[in-house]
């Protein structure tokens, strides 16, 4: 049953060193605030799972939180490379990062299989691709009726899934709408879950057949308005495309990255603090990249 609790406490009690952790969100509703809190609390040895690792995973990888990454597309959407991710894979900095690489179809099905308590996902996938040559977790099974060969990959069953959503009611029921991505599956596939929300309301006012996660499926619900920034929450905020562009030069050098993370994340108390310091430095950053 969901406890409505501050994010710091949720991360402290629910995310442990060595856990398999999925922070999901498909451009929309990416849980940046929660990622920052995991960095602040210095988690290590995590297996990070995410279809589209972007800035928040670049930060977590660069800060040394991750031992392994399970993913299907790692880039700065609309901009280019994730420099910290590339540095970890290409140069092993700050340490070696093991990767397990899939396609989107594979990852999406692996979350579905996890939510369905199946040990593996079955799909028509990876045909003609070299991915099965480099990922021993892509195997093939035969249809017992037609003899066709189908791809099989292990379910994703995170220890903790973290997502951001639009709102929760006071009992902790959560409503998500708009681009849904794989968040529902990621939560239902996980042992524990943290949902940061834009606001807590008396009544969700969910339309029929809306994507609602009942309170009893969640571990913690944490009010963090704007907690998806620079991603967005439909109905609440817009994606800050400038930040995605600004991230590129910050992440290019190890030193600039470390200094930026120190100032904006490690030296701030919470996401509101991050946003205050960022506002101060944003004008300067914008001038530099213009």
């Amino acid at each position: 049953m969901a406890k409505i609790t501050p994010l710091r406490e949720a991360v402290a009690s629910l995310v442990q060193d060595g856990d398999t952790v999925a922070l999901e969100g498909f451009t929309h509703l990416i849980p940046h605030a929660a990622g920052h809190e995991i960095i602040r609390q210095g988690r290590r040895g995590l297996t990070l799972v995410r279809m589209t690792p972007d800035l928040i995973y670049d930060q977590m990888i660069g800060m040394g939180c991750a031992a392994k990454l399970i993913f299907s597309w790692g880039g700065n959407p609309g901009v280019g490379s994730l420099h910290r991710f590339r540095d970890a894979v290409e140069q092993g900095w700050p340490h070696r990062l093991e990767i397990e690489e899939h396609s989107h179809a594979g990852m999406a099905n692996a979350y579905v299989a996890g939510a369905s308590n199946l040990p593996f996902a079955l799909l028509r996938g990876y045909t003609g691709s070299d991915l099965p040559k480099v990922n021993p977790n892509i195997r093939f099974v035969e249809c017992p009726f037609t003899g066709e060969k189908l791809a099989a990959i292990p379910s994703v069953r995170p220890d903790v899934t973290v997502i951001h959503a639009q709102k929760a009611d006071r009992r902790g029921n959560v409503l998500i709408w708009g681009i849904l991505g794989v968040q529902k599956e990621a939560v239902l596939a996980a042992k524990r879950s943290i949902v940061t929300v834009e606001e807590i309301v008396d009544d969700l006012e969910a339309p029929p057949n809306a994507c609602v996660l009942p309170a009893w499926t969640l571990s913690a619900v944490c009010p963090v308005p704007g907690g998806a920034y620079p991603s967005y929450a439909q109905g609440y905020s817009e994606r800050d495309n400038r930040f995605y562009k600004a991230w590129d030069p910050i992440a290019r050098s190890r030193e600039d990255f470390r200094a930026w993370m120190q100032r904006h994340v490690l030296d701030t108390d919470d996401f509101a603090g991050f946003r205050r310091v960022l506002a101060e430095s944003m004008a300067r950053i914008m001038n530099e990249v213009a």
Binding site: F26, T27, H28, M51, T52, D54, F71, S72, W73, G74, G75, N76, P77, G78, V79, G80, S81, L82, F85, R86, V89, E90, E101, H102, S103, H104, A105, A108, N109, Y111, V112, L123, R124, G125, Y126, T127, G128, S129, D130, L131, V134, E148, K149, G178, I179, L180, G181, V182, K184, E185, C211, Y232, Q234, E238, R239, N241, R242, Y244, K245
Partner: protein, 270 residues
């Protein structure tokens, strides 16, 4: 049209317009972000108002007024006929066999239109780590046909890929069918210099279209293998004024809406 021939346009613009023209009205198109999305939306705003655009983040029948900068922009959701979860997109819609055209970008293609978006150099010790597969492996195998759009250069058009992320025609000939891959595979590669199409028998990419003002020698120089030229080589029709205006208006609206310079409207998922 004689009027339009005097228009100035950039290489990226004619690439986008040429790609856009290939999309027939009513086609169900699975759209990658970046150039494919620009071309597909240009088609929707010009000759193909009933093209159905599906994005992997979940929108079905998206009709964005500005270009999405990411695969999950809010405008995609708000203008779509419906928005489903990402698993459903890949399960019921792509794997379900409902996609006519998969419209992809690429970092590299080889002479049989196989795609690499994974690594340059060895997988375990990459020289350049690229973003990875995304939706492409299954789009490339399950859409009824595939259009690829990317700029042409010897680094991008290589004889042999270091890594095949997504299947084109594999080793050529009937290799794709023999591997049990459904769908016709890539039927066109649209670049800033021209259009390459697989030879009907060998499936080797052949220059079938060349953009006005480009020479065959230029295209050959931008290709990492000895590019065959179709005996029936056609010069791409220049973009007409209306289409160019529609494309430029789309970019201007996008820049204004997103509060950024147009350069950001490049490529990438996320």
């Amino acid at each position: 049209m004689s009027n339009a021939e005097t228009l100035d346009f950039t290489a990226t613009e004619i690439m986008t317009v040429a790609a856009s023209r290939l999309l027939k009205d009513g086609t169900v198109c699975f759209v990658g972000i970046g150039l494919p999305s620009t071309a597909a939306n240009l088609a929707r705003l010009t000759h193909a108002p009933d093209v159905v655009l599906i994005y992997e983040s979940g929108p079905i029948g998206a009709k964005p007024s500005v270009l999405p900068l990411s695969i999950g922009d809010g405008d995609l959701a708000l203008t779509a006929d419906t928005v489903v979860g990402t698993p459903e997109i890949f399960r019921y819609w792509l794997q379900g066999g409902r996609i006519d055209v998969g419209f992809l970008g690429a970092a590299q293609v080889d002479r049989f239109a196989n795609i690499n978006t994974t690594v340059i150099g060895p997988y375990d010790a990459p020289k350049v780590r690229l973003p990875g597969a995304g939706g492409a492996p299954e789009i490339a195998s399950q859409a009824k046909e595939v259009f690829i759009v990317l700029k042409q250069s010897p680094k991008a058009f290589v004889a042999k890929l270091p890594f095949v992320t997504s299947a084109g025609h594999l080793d050529g000939g009937d290799a794709r069918a023999r591997a049990g891959i459904p769908g016709a595979g890539p039927t066109a590669v649209i670049t800033d210099l021209g259009i390459l199409s697989p030879d009907p028998m060998t499936k080797e990419l052949t220059l079938t279209g060349i953009h006005p003002g480009v020479t065959v020698e230029q295209v050959k120089a931008a290709t990492g293998w000895d590019l065959k030229i179709s005996p029936d080589l056609k010069t791409t029709e220049v973009p007409d004024a209306e289409t160019l205006t529609a494309l430029r208006d789309l970019h201007a609206r996008t820049a204004a809406a997103h509060g950024i310079s147009q350069g950001l409207a490049g490529g990438g998922e996320g």
